[in-house]
């Protein structure tokens, strides 16, 4: 906070952002070229998806990681943001088409809700030209964010009375209620029922520069929030609600604030998401979206924005580039893959037990893995025709993701980064919690050597989540 290298860090940050912007600009141009180089379109698709899901995952992280509340209703917030944005930005052409359609559930009144109508009413007609679509899109996305934030406030209120998994279930219930209600007759004048609205402008959701702009904005705001007094208060609530309240933190206000912020950015992500997809429809907002964000959070590190972005990258990579998993392979190949996976698992388990000093080092599971793996290997090598024909692993990506999540949870529940964040100080190895020799000597002198010997911390720096204390009798 009071960094000595503020100037250096600021310059580095600016430089990083400039490089990022240049890169995204380049990607946009390359992908839009008449004869794009091979792979660039898919790359831009993955990149923009990463940015959009990143906005959503980082915002989910505010509730799940910073505030310590498991929220399972993020797709509901995204739905609200997405529908609001979609409705507000819909082109006149699409509106008239919907109005003419016999199946339309929307009325002229609801169809009149648009940013350009609003701007016209305000006398800002120059903003309703095709060239200023981006202004209207920005306004629509922000309004979508606000609509979601309002819903976030409503969902946040039960969090004042409920804790833990009960709250998780309530958020899940809210998410599903939002999704199921959107298609009912009550709301279909706004949502056009199951039909949704097609034909939204895609240049924002599909533009790497645009989506990364939103991602940077989200990360900026949420990181600022996390490292402000408000963020500290929220982390205090995560660590110990009772103690936080006893230290003067207003639980209700901060929890609702967290939900509002999170829902706001989820709403923005929803707006970008519908732009990415070019339309709004109910099945764009299924629970599996929240599941993917949960995987991203858990894999990367719940509570760490850096980790969440890493996790999102992983999820997006598997979702977008994982289709070789679903190609048609012979059964022998599958067995070979299985054998390799089992050997890796066995080796991983062994290393894990070795590093954690678990006894016995060679767990029975290792033998099972190796045994089954050997069997599979032998079958696949000795008799490739054991089971003739090919087998297509449709759905393998989803299976792979869920197995990955279980494995991460079992072996590294805190995720790749834990709660650590990337910072320039970290990059330059400036660690203020590591004492200089002088400080160490002073500390030892201050502390009764007799006592420190017994209460000493075995592994140097303790890992997060362990070491509840030497309070053996409590």
């Amino acid at each position: 906070m009071l960094g000595e290298n503020r100037l250096r860090n600021a310059l580095l940050t600016l430089a990083g952002l400039a490089v990022l912007a240049a890169f995204m600009f380049l990607v946009d141009r390359l992908a839009a070229a008449d004869d794009p180089i091979r792979g660039i379109v898919k790359f831009r698709g993955a990149l923009t998806l990463f940015a959009i899901w990143g906005v959503a995952a980082v915002s989910l992280n505010l509730i799940n990681g910073t505030l310590g509340i498991l929220s399972l209703g993020h797709h509901g917030f995204m739905l609200i943001g997405g529908y609001t944005t979609g409705l507000l930005i819909l082109s006149e052409q699409a509106r008239s088409r919907i109005l003419l359609s016999a199946r339309s559930q929307m009325t002229e009144g609801t169809l009149g809700l648009s940013v350009s109508n609003g701007l016209s009413a305000l006398g800002l007609d120059f903003l309703t030209t095709p060239e200023t679509l981006w202004v209207r899109f920005l306004i629509a996305v922000l309004l979508g964010g606000f609509a979601a934030a309002f819903a976030g406030m409503l969902v946040g209120i039960p969090s004042l009375r409920l804790r833990g998994d009960y709250l998780a279930i309530v958020t899940f219930g809210f998410g599903e209620i939002i999704r199921l209600s959107a298609s009912t007759r009550l709301f279909s004048p706004l949502t056009n029922g199951a039909l949704g609205f097609p034909g939204l402008p895609q240049e924002f959701g599909k533009g790497a520069l645009w989506t990364f702009g939103f991602l940077v904005l989200t990360v900026f705001v949420l990181a600022r929030l996390k490292y402000s007094s408000y963020g500290r208060a929220m982390e205090g609530i995560r660590e110990d609600e009772v103690a936080a309240e006893a230290m003067g933190i207003n639980l209700a206000y901060h929890k609702v604030l967290g939900f509002v912020f999170s829902a706001f950015f989820a709403g923005i992500a929803g707006g970008l998401w519908v732009s990415w997809l070019g339309g709004v429809r109910l099945d764009f907002f299924l629970f599996q979206l929240t599941f993917f964000f949960l995987v991203a959070l858990s894999a990367g590190g719940t509570g760490s924005i850096t980790g969440v972005l890493l996790g999102t990258a992983l999820v997006v990579f598997i979702r977008q580039y994982g289709d070789p998993l679903e190609q048609s392979y012979s059964v022998a190949t599958w067995l070979l893959i299985l054998a390799v996976a089992l050997f890796i698992a066995a080796a991983g388990l062994f290393v894990y037990r070795l590093t954690r000093r678990l006894r016995p080092r060679v767990h029975a599971g290792i033998f099972v893995f190796v045994g089954v793996g050997l069997l599979a290997l032998v079958i696949s090598l000795v008799d490739p025709g054991f089971i003739a024909g090919a087998f297509r692993g449709f759905g393998m990506r989803a299976i792979f993701l869920s197995v990955l999540l279980v494995v991460i949870m079992v072996f590294r529940p805190e995720g790749v980064t834990g709660r650590a964040e990337f910072s320039w100080a970290w990059l330059f190895r400036e660690r203020r919690d590591r004492p200089t020799d002088e400080e160490r000597a002073q500390d030892a002198w201050l502390t009764n050597p007799d006592l420190t010997r017994r209460l000493e911390v075995a592994g140097g720096k303790a890992e997060a989540g362990t070491g509840e204390g030497a309070d053996g009798d409590a």
Binding site: R224, S228, A244, A246, G248, A464, E468
Partner: protein, 271 residues
Amino acid sequence: MLEIRNVTKNFGGIQAIGDLSIDLNEGEIVAVIGPNGAGKTTLFNLITGVYRPDSGEVRFEGRSLVGLSPNRIVERGVARTFQNLRLFTNLSVLDNVLIPQHHRLRAIWPSAVLRTRGYRRKEMAMHDLALEKLSFFGPRLMSFRLYQPVSVLSYANRRRAEIARAMATGARLLLLDEPSAGMNPKETAEITQIIRRMRDEGGYTILLVEHKMNLVGEISDRVVVLDYGRKIAEGAYQDVVNDPKVVEAYLGRRAEEGTSGGKPDGAGGEA
């Protein structure tokens, strides 16, 4: 400063606190002692709003605290520590001492996100105050320890950090629940001095629950003895420990009465 008037609290038919009245004057150090289950921690919970008394009145500086939520009571100026340490374990020491200042931060969140000049100044002030409160405990929590998570601290350092955290709330009345638990004699002696300095230099009024009688004897202006939720004695340390009622309640019948110096053996334990 703090008036507790005829407070009663029942838990499922069992009386935890019965018709208890205690007064605290500004600048006093008052110790509450009593055997396990005597209701000492319950008393703290009643004052700080974790529980609501069934009857009776708790007033701080003339205004009632009954029915306020714990965070409102902190804003009034009453802070506490916990017997079994409820620090924010995975946060750094500095964060632990910054969080209790949050309720006094007069800055709305947009300014925090935008890092306005005013907000930065307030953040600096919070930082300075945190260092000031930590400096009560000498340099040991100051340098690199500031940035270490609480989970790697020693037990004694955690106790210290928790007291610093309570001080940082800006409270004028501190409720310390067994501040020396888990400390060795040397550290206990040190904390005794610190508590005294907190009163003398920091201007805090202190209500503490303690089992180590030498600590109680050394610093308390008054001692209140609880047994089964009722006050059985109150007064100066020497008078109280020689009160036969106290000896009987505290030490059990088998204890030989009148042990010299009134330092009872086998005192208490955890609640």
